[in-house]
Each structure stands twice: as structure tokens, then as C-alpha cells.
């Protein structure tokens, strides 16, 4: 008969072996549960393996997308950095410049008008000075005539003797006066000459300045045309900008796909984590079974000894 069979003898009855039978059944039961848990653990581990395979596949896809993404964004970066801000700055500067140029034009026009007015005034001045010169000529002529008269008066006064002395004095004074007038006229003529000289010079300056202003205006026009060209060129950058925007749009779409890939990877990681969690929990429950198996198996020997009378 086997160890757990119904061994009978005269001294021991069947129930002496009952504890051993119980232990054996308990151990078998524990082992059965253990085997089931072991299978569950292996399934969890296989789940982990599958999840990680999927993770690796996703990772490769992600890597390729990232490479392409890097290229696209590289070109976006280069273009955008060159055009976008510069275009705005150019446009702004051009607007400012053209505004300032317009102010300059208006100022120049005003100055030119002022100079024209001044030129007109000096022309009148020259005309007036000419008239003054004519008058001074007349004054000189009169002074000469007065001088002749004074000489004649002196001669007559001398002829008049003593009664003509007073008249001679007057005649002398008149002669002196005529001389002084001629002197003054000479000075006036000199001043008039100066005025004429300075006026000529001033007119020359006005002419030169007016010519310079005219040249300025021409330059302003040229600059304005240049700025218009710049604006036109900047406007042409819109085409480039559109290309950039298109590239950026492509990049964004790629980025969205990358983000989805990350999300899928995250789900896989979470699944892996769940599997690991479950596997760990299963692992800890096995220790109780191991302890129970040990505690039961440890009793077999002392029970056998007890029953055999040792």
C-alpha cells in the first residue's frame, strides 16, 4: 500500500494517516493554485513582451518622422528668420523714410518759395539802388552846379568889395557845403557800390541755393522712386512668405503626427506598466503559497515520527 493508502494494522487505525493525507491534499491544492498563478504571470510577461515590441515599432516610426520633421523645420527656420521680421522692419522703415522725405520736400518747397520771394525782393532792391544811384548822380550834378555858383558868387562878391564880403562868406560856405555833399554822395556811391556788389553775390547765392534745392528735389524724387522699388521688392517677398507658411504648415502636420505617435507610445507604456504591476502583485501572492507549502511540508516528518512511535 502507498504512503497515503488505507493501511491497516492491528495497532494503528486509518485515521492516524489522516493528517498526512490532509497535508498532501493541502499541498496539492496550493500547487494547483500556484501553477495557475504561474500561468497568469507568464501571460502577463508575454503581454509585457508584446507591449514592448509594439513600443519599439512605434519608436522606429517616430524616429523616421522626427528625421523628416527636422529637415522641414530646418528650412522653415532659415527662411522665416530672414524674411519675416526683416520684411516688417523694411516696410516700417520705408514708411517712416517716405514720411520724412515728404516733410523734407515740403520744407524744401517752402524754402525755395522763400528764396524766390527774397530774390524778388532783392531785385526790387537793386532797382531801388539804381534809382538811388541816379539820384546821387543828380545830387553830384547839382552839387557841381552849386559849386560853380558858389565860385561865381565869390567872384561877384569880390567885385562887390566890402558889401560883398558877407555874400562871399555865404558863397564860401555854400561851396564848402557843396563839397561836403559831393563827399557824402561819393560815400553813398561807395555804399551803393557795396550794396550792388553784395546784392550780386547774394543773388548768386540764391541762384546756387535754388539750384541746390532743385537738385535736392530731384534727389528726393529719385529716393522716393527707390523706396517704391523697395516696397515693391518687399511685397515680392510675400511669395516667399507663402512658401514658408506652406512649409510651416507641413511641419505642423508632421508635428501633429509625432504627437499622436507619442500618445500611442504613452498608451503602450501604460499598458506595460499595468502588466508589470499585475505581474508584481502576482509575484507577491506566491510567497504566501510558498510559506504555506513549507509550513505544511515541514509537518510531515514529525507526524510520521509520531505515528511510528519515534
Amino acid at each position: 500500500m502507498g504512503l497515503f493508502g488505507n493501511k491497516k494494522n492491528e495497532n494503528n487505525n486509518v485515521t492516524d494517516q489522516y493528517p498526512l493525507i490532509c497535508i498532501a491534499n493541502s499541498i496539492k491544492e496550493s500547487k494547483k493554485v500556484l501553477a495557475q498563478k504561474e500561468v497568469s504571470s507568464l501571460e502577463e510577461l508575454r503581454g509585457i513582451q508584446d507591449s514592448f515590441d509594439a513600443v519599439l515599432l512605434r519608436d522606429e516610426e517616430l524616429k523616421q518622422k522626427m528625421d523628416h520633421f527636422a529637415e522641414v523645420f530646418g528650412s522653415v527656420g532659415n527662411s522665416a528668420s530672414q524674411f519675416d521680421n526683416v520684411k516688417s522692419a523694411i516696410s516700417s522703415s520705408v514708411s517712416d523714410a517716405q514720411a520724412h522725405m515728404e516733410l523734407l520736400r515740403q520744407s524744401s518747397e517752402a524754402v525755395k518759395a522763400d528764396f524766390a520771394e527774397m530774390s524778388g525782393i532783392f531785385t526790387d532792391l537793386v532797382a531801388s539802388v539804381k534809382i538811388i544811384a541816379e539820384y546821387t548822380k543828380n545830387i553830384t550834378s547839382i552839387a557841381d552846379q552849386t559849386n560853380i555858383l558858389a565860385i561865381n558868387a565869390s567872384i561877384e562878391a569880390a567885385r562887390a568889395g566890402d558889401s560883398g564880403k558877407g555874400f562871399a562868406v555865404v558863397a564860401t560856405e555854400v561851396k564848402k557845403l557843396a563839397e561836403e555833399i559831393k563827399e557824402m554822395v561819393t560815400q553813398v556811391d561807395a555804399s551803393i557800390e557795396n550794396v550792388n556788389t553784395y546784392t550780386a553775390k547774394f543773388n548768386e547765392s540764391i541762384v546756387k541755393t535754388t539750384e541746390a534745392l532743385d537738385k535736392n528735389m530731384t534727389d528726393l524724387d529719385t529716393a522716393n522712386r527707390t523706396f517704391d522699388s523697395i516696397n515693391e521688392a518687399a511685397g515680392g517677398a510675400d511669395t516667399v512668405q507663402m512658401q514658408i507658411a506652406e512649409a510651416a504648415g507641413d511641419a505642423s502636420a508632421e508635428l501633429a503626427e509625432v504627437s499622436s505617435a507619442f500618445e500611442r507610445i504613452g498608451e503602450q507604456y501604460r499598458t506595460v506598466s499595468d502588466h508589470i504591476e499585475k505581474a508584481s502583485a502576482l509575484g507577491t501572492t506566491k510567497s504566501v503559497l510558498f510559506e504555506n507549502i513549507d509550513n505544511m511540508a515541514d509537518q510531515i516528518e514529525p507526524l510520521v515520527k509520531l505515528q511510528s512511535g519515534n
Binding site: C22, S280, G283, T284, V288, F290, E291, N295, Q299, P302
Partner: protein, 350 residues
């Protein structure tokens, strides 16, 4: 079911024996010095009532060391018995155990096994649960303070005194209360263990003693004290069983319960004892509309901890508000198939 308790802080059993009315089961907790005498005294007075006894400190709504306590349960069907040689072969008396379970018409909803053990607690629980688990019957109990238990007037050493108790008028449920929680998510795999000495050699391949000392920056002499703050927890699925540290031994650690190779351990830290105790009370109230009685085993470490934090009186009063609450301070606790330390294990009768 009705649970009544009677206690004498002076240890005078005679003064309380006369107060016991109707009883279908009697539990007695007393001190070692008076154990044999009072076991006989009790049995002589109530020879026909199933009775189990152990050594320890009895409490109701208060505790005085050195007293004697009696718990009388009526409205139950009970059978008391003993498992002998529990250090080596508790299965020896398993047939009688099975008979007693059958005798009370045990049912998972209304039956509990209450046990007092002096021997290999884990081995004894494995033996009892080999039978109880078939019917889903729960178990609670504790370790005798001084290595002695008694059943129906007879004193045993290296034995487990048990009572299979069926509540004839309501349900039964067991609870455990853990004051500790994991410090973090780290796990330590035990190895180099010696089950007979409750010894851990290594944790994650490193000497267990140095792992523990380095973790808390403590010298070797403070290891035993550190268990009040940071015992080990053995992880079993969602459950954590506390393992108290006893003392260092060589490069390893001796504990108050068995640790096996490949056991997964974690380090625990104390939580808010007031909050946790309140949660236990709330959980019990939530599960039971009416409470006939609560019988609890509190670990000696909890008893010392509560005393140190002036919480013992408050705790016992709080639990007593559930109804007839009593129990004893033990050296280890039993909760179904778990042998645990630094825990409270209790049965609630509805």
C-alpha cells in the same frame, strides 16, 4: 448574540465569576502567575461551557496591567478545541478541528474562529486555514504573552486554543488596523532567510542589517527601537503584513515573524494614529447596523506606542462606543491566514 465582559484589575477572578450570566462561550485572559489556578477555577465553575484562555493584559474601556478579564458570549453556537505541538505539527489535531467546524454548522457570513496561540503562529494559521478557507470562514486571534493557553480547563504549552463561534442572530466580520503605510514605492527582496529563527540575511542582495541602518542613519543599538517608527511590511497582493524588527544578528536581522526567501518587503512609516483609529470605527459602523460585541487583539507594540502618546485611554473609549468592546494585548496578531505584528485584529458580531 450578546457579548459581556467582566474584569478585575486586581486579578480577583472570584469577584467576577458570579456576575457571568448565560454564556455559550467563555474567553479568559489573565496573567501567567495565576493562569493554571484561574483556568481550573473557571472550569470548575462552568464545566459545560466551552472555554479558551490565554495570558496577556485584558482591557475593556480601560486597561490595568495584571488584571483578569472574562468575555461571555451568548446567542452563539461554539466549539472549543486545541491544536497541539503547534511549533512542529499543528496538523496533528486537524481532524478534531474539522469536526468542530462542522459541529457548529459554520458559515462564512456568521462564523469566526478565535484562537490563542503559543508556538509557530504561521504554521498554525496555515493548518487552520487549510480547513477554514474551504468554507470561507474568517479567523482572528493572537499570540499568548507567556507561552500558555488553555481549553476547557486544561493548560497547554506549544499549543493553539481555538473556538469556532457561530453567531446565531447576525453576521460576523473580522478587521485589522494598520497604523503604518509604505514610505515609498521601493521593494526589497528577502534572501538568506532562516525561517526557524525569523531571520533575514539580505535585502536586494545586500546585508539586511546595513541596509536598514543606512536607510535611517542609525547605529546598530537603535535597530530594535526603530521598529516603532519603521517596521517592515510584507507585500501580498494588495495587503501589507507588518513585520516587527527584534534585533540585529550578525549581518542580518531577526524579526518577530517568519520571513522567506523571495518575500517582497517594503519599509513602513507611522501614520496618524487618531485618524486611522477613527477610520476603523467608521468602517465598522458602516458595515454593521447593530453591533453586539467587538473582541480585539492589540499588539504589545501598539499598546506601548499608545501609552507613550497618551492615546491609550482615548483609543479604548473610542472603540467602546461601538458597543461591548474588549480584548487583550498580545505578542502577535492573527487575521485570517496572516500572522502579523504591530497590528490590531478584531472580530465584530452583529
Amino acid at each position: 448574540m450578546k457579548q459581556s465582559y467582566y474584569k478585575s484589575d486586581s486579578g480577583d477572578l472570584g469577584s467576577i465569576l458570579g456576575q457571568i450570566g448565560k454564556a455559550d462561550l467563555i474567553l479568559m485572559i489573565t496573567v501567567n502567575d495565576r493562569f493554571e489556578m484561574q483556568v481550573k477555577q473557571l472550569h470548575d465553575r462552568y464545566p459545560d461551557i466551552p472555554c479558551i484562555a490565554t495570558t496577556g493584559h485584558f482591557y475593556g474601556n480601560s486597561l490595568r496591567e495584571g488584571g483578569v478579564g472574562i468575555v461571555a458570549m451568548s446567542g452563539v453556537k461554539a466549539a472549543a478545541g486545541v491544536l497541539r505541538s503547534v511549533s512542529t505539527m499543528p496538523m496533528r489535531d486537524i481532524k478534531e478541528f474539522e469536526s468542530n467546524v462542522r459541529a457548529v454548522n459554520a458559515n462564512s457570513n456568521n462564523t469566526v474562529c478565535i484562537d490563542f496561540c503559543s508556538g509557530n503562529d504561521a504554521m498554525t494559521l496555515a493548518a487552520m486555514n487549510a480547513v477554514l478557507s474551504r468554507s470561507g470562514i474568517s479567523l482572528m486571534g493572537g499570540t499568548a504573552f507567556d507561552g500558555k493557553v488553555a481549553v476547557n480547563g486544561k493548560v497547554y504549552e506549544d499549543a493553539c486554543a481555538y473556538a469556532i463561534v457561530r453567531n446565531e442572530s447576525g453576521k460576523v466580520k473580522v478587521y485589522k488596523e494598520n497604523l503604518y503605510r509604505p514610505m515609498d514605492s521601493r521593494r526589497f527582496i528577502a534572501s538568506g532567510t532562516d525561517r526557524s529563527r525569523y531571520f533575514i540575511g539580505a535585502l536586494n542582495g545586500k546585508p539586511a542589517k546595513s541596509v536598514y541602518m543606512n536607510e535611517f542613519g542609525i547605529p546598530e543599538r537603535d535597530i530594535s527601537k526603530q521598529t516603532f517608527s519603521n517596521p517592515f511590511g510584507k507585500i501580498t497582493g494588495d495587503e501589507i503584513c507588518i513585520i516587527s524588527l527584534k534585533e540585529p544578528s550578525g549581518n542580518g536581522l531577526c524579526c518577530y515573524r517568519q520571513v522567506n526567501d523571495s518575500d517582497v518587503l517594503t519599509l513602513l512609516e507611522i501614520g496618524d494614529h487618531r485618524e486611522i483609529a477613527a477610520e476603523t470605527v467608521a468602517k465598522i459602523r458602516n458595515d454593521f447596523k447593530n453591533i453586539s460585541g467587538v473582541f480585539a487583539v492589540n499588539c504589545a507594540f501598539r499598546y506601548l506606542y499608545f501609552k507613550e502618546h497618551n492615546f491609550l485611554g482615548e483609543y479604548l473609549q473610542s472603540m467602546s462606543k461601538l458597543g461591548s468592546f474588549c480584548g487583550f494585548v498580545g505578542n502577535g496578531e492573527h487575521y485570517n491566514d496572516q500572522f502579523i505584528n504591530q497590528t490590531m485584529s478584531c472580530v465584530v458580531f452583529g
